[in-house]
């Protein structure tokens, strides 16, 4: 009956693990729900000082944790590229990244992020690269327009392209000539302020409703994205 005993032991471990997980899940859910409810009540019951103070404390803690999360992300990036050093093809890039990461971080710690030296780093590296990446997007968007017309010519895409064209014509004048009368005076403002705004309002409401539902599910414990099942 050794197998039976083994089986029992296995089951016992399973049961124990399940119990621990259940307790953990409940604990995490209680924390999430309690913190959420406190903050939410702070919105709607601002007259209760204790609640307001607790809400302020919770919000401050959340801010601190968000800053700590930044370091978790940085550590993750660091470890990823440390691992990639083993890959000969990618090692050079990873070395570059790690050197600049550590260098910038050290400089920031020593001199402060708003120091002139950090300003130089920011204006000579971060702004040029980010802006240039954004500039690449201009080419990509035009390229995407052609592809859209070529391969996805349906009602929605044609409406999309025509609207974009009208906005193009209405936003900027013809080079060295001037604004295009009908488009810039009437059509562009009307489209941007009526149908586009209507669609945007619908989208915003949809997003808000979705946010509401998701938030409520978290506060009810139905969703637990922090772990636990």
């Amino acid at each position: 009956m050794g197998a039976h005993h083994r089986h029992c032991g296995w089951r016992a471990i399973e049961t124990g693990g399940y119990f621990v997980r259940t307790i953990t899940t409940i604990f995490l859910a209680i924390i999430a729900i309690a913190s959420g409810v406190v903050v939410l009540l702070g919105y709607f019951l601002p007259a209760i000082p204790f609640l307001v103070n607790l809400r302020v404390a919770f919000l401050n803690w959340a801010m601190i944790l968000a800053a700590v999360a930044v370091f978790v992300g940085i550590f993750n990036l660091f470890s990823v590229h440390t691992q990639k050093l083993r890959n000969k093809n990618e090692a050079a890039y990873s070395v570059l990244l790690l050197v600049f990461l550590l260098g910038t971080f050290a400089l920031g710690l020593l001199l402060g992020p708003t120091s002139p030296a950090m300003n130089v780093v920011f204006t000579s590296i971060q702004i040029p690269v980010e802006t240039s990446l954004m500039a690449l997007l201009a080419v990509s968007l035009l390229y995407a327009t052609i592809r859209l017309l070529r391969w996805r010519a349906n009602f929605m895409s044609i409406t999309f392209i025509i609207t974009a064209l009208i906005i193009f014509l209405g936003t900027a004048p013809l080079p060295f000539i001037g604004p295009i009368p009908f488009f810039s005076d009437w059509l562009r403002p009307v489209i941007a302020q009526v149908p586009a705004a209507a669609g945007a309002r619908g989208i915003l409401l949809g997003v808000a409703l979705g946010t509401l539902m998701t938030g409520l599910r978290i506060l009810f414990g139905a969703d637990r994205p922090y772990g636990g099942k």
Binding site: L136, Y226, G227
Partner: protein, 225 residues
């Protein structure tokens, strides 16, 4: 022009060209620029988070605050340490508490913001043009009514477009309410228009960046003459 400006300008120009070289195709120059950027960006964010958050909100209060306030300071400290455990997969589960706390607070803020900041004001704004007594708005009553009607239709049909509810059918494939389907089609038009405007806006933003880069390079080049 000072030496530091020249060095900064040269580095900026080089990095700009390296990134724009992606237009030719993916190449090592582009990758170098991007990896440098990511490293600098991460290091910068870390320095900012340390200097502008952790020091004023954690370190300084621990040093300066009276002892009775310490418990309120220790809690975020513990939560922060637990959250750091997330960086290590083996002990990552320790960060669950911090995550639960952040998620709970974030959910509450999002709920309140959505209700107070978007749902209520936007619903009111959607029906506001039909309040003929109000003096708001420009133009005649007819204009405001027609504009409000279009806005309302657009808003409702857009919402209908995002409504994915289907009626269960025996065949397994659900059927959509015909009214909702028609409304969804109308909403599709409004969404396409909105996306068209968004697209034009994105192009404007990207082109502005391109113009800024070209302008910078040209001015830097001209500054030597």
């Amino acid at each position: 022009m000072q030496a530091i400006d020249i060095i900064t300008g040269i580095i900026s120009c080089l990095l700009t060209i390296m990134v724009l070289s992606y237009l030719v195709g993916d190449n090592p120059l582009f990758r170098i620029a991007v990896y440098i950027f990511v490293g600098v960006s991460a290091g910068f964010v870390g320095a900012v988070a340390f200097y502008q958050v952790l020091i004023p909100k954690v370190v300084m209060p621990l040093i300066n605050s009276p002892a009775e306030n310490l418990p309120m300071l220790v809690v975020p400290l513990i939560l922060g340490v637990l959250l750091l455990a997330k960086a290590y997969p083996r002990i990552g589960w320790l960060g669950g508490t911090s995550m639960a706390f952040m998620v709970g607070v974030g959910a509450a803020v999002a709920i309140a913001g959505a209700i107070i900041g978007t749902l209520v004001p936007q619903f009111i704004a959607a029906i506001e043009p039909f309040g003929l007594g109000s003096a708001n708005g420009i133009g005649s009553v007819v204009e405001r009514l027609s504009e409000g009607t279009v806005m309302l239709i657009g808003t409702v049909t857009t919402l209908a477009y995002f409504h994915f509810g289907v009626k269960a059918s025996g065949q397994g494939a659900g059927t959509r309410n015909p009214i909702m389907r028609i409304m969804g089609l109308i909403g599709q038009f409004f969404i396409a228009v909105t996306f068209g405007v968004l697209f034009a806006g994105a192009y404007a933003a990207a082109v502005s960046a391109l113009i800024g880069r070209v302008y910078f390079i040209w001015n830097f080049f001209v500054s030597f003459f």
